[in-house]
Symmetry: C2
Subunit: 261 residues, 2 copies
């Protein structure tokens, strides 16, 4: 059964043929030359980026840790604008709690108007959380293989007789809508191929392209169109976000065209 999230994604892909997802993370002091701290500055930052990147992307992904302190109606204005411009909206929440608490997160994320969220399978409740999310029409994208050096245990260790990332990928196939898979560091082509083979038509959301140096070509060749390549700093902190979004989108489309031949 295809979830409403995957249907939305496919419909938008038919229309835009883009796999570019743009991060929306208003920097805290010390991260950029210009802080973006007040609520109004943070909202303006996100509204501006959305306006600039909408023609060249399929999704936007703000991260919860940068949005702390914004109200539900303020965030709803963000998702409303993004949806109006034909963008899928993903809350990068990395939800990681138990039953009733996750219900509360899903309630508020739904109120904010998002189409989906990222989820951490740490507490083991991918199935029950995905079922609840689907009741609300929310898609769930599960942390499956992270690429920061300290996350290498997801490759080296086992869970239920499988490698950890294989176990999480199996849960994605059974219950959720997509897998977050890092595209840098210890994550090889073979890891991505294995995960893709396991999850089938579900989406891979790959952060780390651009500033973090992830390889878009291998992602597109392996994953085809069930893919969201997230570019964060490389677009949102660029002098001209529209120009950079257009450049990445063109590059990804070129690779897609060549890999279809």
């Amino acid at each position: 059964m295809t979830s409403s999230f995957l249907t939305k994604f496919k419909t938008l892909y038919e229309e835009k043929e883009s796999v570019l997802c743009v991060g929306l993370d208003p920097a805290i002091p010390g991260q950029r030359e210009k802080n973006i701290i007040s609520s109004s500055d943070r909202l303006k930052f996100m509204h501006t980026i959305i306006d600039q990147v909408a023609p060249y992307s399929i999704a936007v992904k703000p991260n919860r840790q940068y949005l702390i302190g914004l109200t539900t109606s303020e965030i709803k204005e963000i998702t409303k604008k993004a949806k109006g411009l034909g963008l899928l909206t993903i809350m990068d929440h990395k939800l990681s709690d138990i039953g009733s608490t996750n219900d509360s997160a899903l309630y508020w994320i739904n109120k904010e108007g998002f189409d989906g969220l990222t989820f951490s399978p740490f507490a083991g409740n991918t199935r029950s959380t995905s079922e609840k999310a689907h009741e609300l029409g929310l898609g769930v994208i599960v942390l499956t293989l992270m690429s920061n050096p300290e996350a290498k245990w997801m490759i080296t260790e086992k869970m239920e007789g499988k490698k950890v990332y294989q176990h999480f990928a199996e849960e994605v196939r059974k219950y959720a809508d997509g897998a977050v898979v890092g595209a840098t560091g210890h994550v090889t082509d073979n890891h991505i191929k294995e995960i893709k083979k396991e999850i089938g038509e579900k989406i891979i959301l790959a952060p780390g392209v651009g500033a973090q140096g992830g390889d878009a070509e291998k992602l597109i060749k392996i994953c085809g169109k069930e893919l969201l390549i997230n570019v964060g700093r490389g677009i949102m902190y660029a002098e001209k976000p529209a120009l950079n979004a257009e450049k990445y989108d063109k590059q990804f489309k070129e690779i897609m065209k060549n890999s279809e031949k």
Copy 2:
């Protein structure tokens, strides 16, 4: 080296001799007869509980997933009141992201005025996140052994040659300020003893007493005073929160007194 969080905890314990931590989670629709949804209702709920439980507890612990949409200054009013009444304030955040994103969460949690936060070691970055948190004076309490049935992998699987919860407990000892340890279900006395032995004078934060049926007696006998027993629904949703807080506090003090003999 003792962190400022542990110093605060010890000072408060000397004064109050309480190990009671009270949850502050304004229920979403369907969870209680009365919803607590508007910002003003949620704030009023938390302010009221704090007023009622302050004489009988050492800490309050709101969960982020119930506070989504509240502003930084609204939450700061909550922590300010709690601190003014001699309570330690812990944001039950289960932070679970990578470096720069965790920095943003720590920045905002610090702005909100909390003394500490809960952290998920999923991404493997307990050390770097704890170091950043300590720079801000924030304590870090690490999910070490969860008691929901789906989290049994923390007992059955291994990480770096140790059982998963042993590995996390080792990280608590080295880098953080405390361990979240479930006190129900598959978590036995021996698990708690092992974790306590590993982390030494650092704190165990045990949710699940009261509504979830966790056993306060075994916790106190094993952990002594480096302990926070969280009661959530059993106090915050009670008809008379003050009465129930007093009851739990008395019960815990009684056990503590008997186990010191």
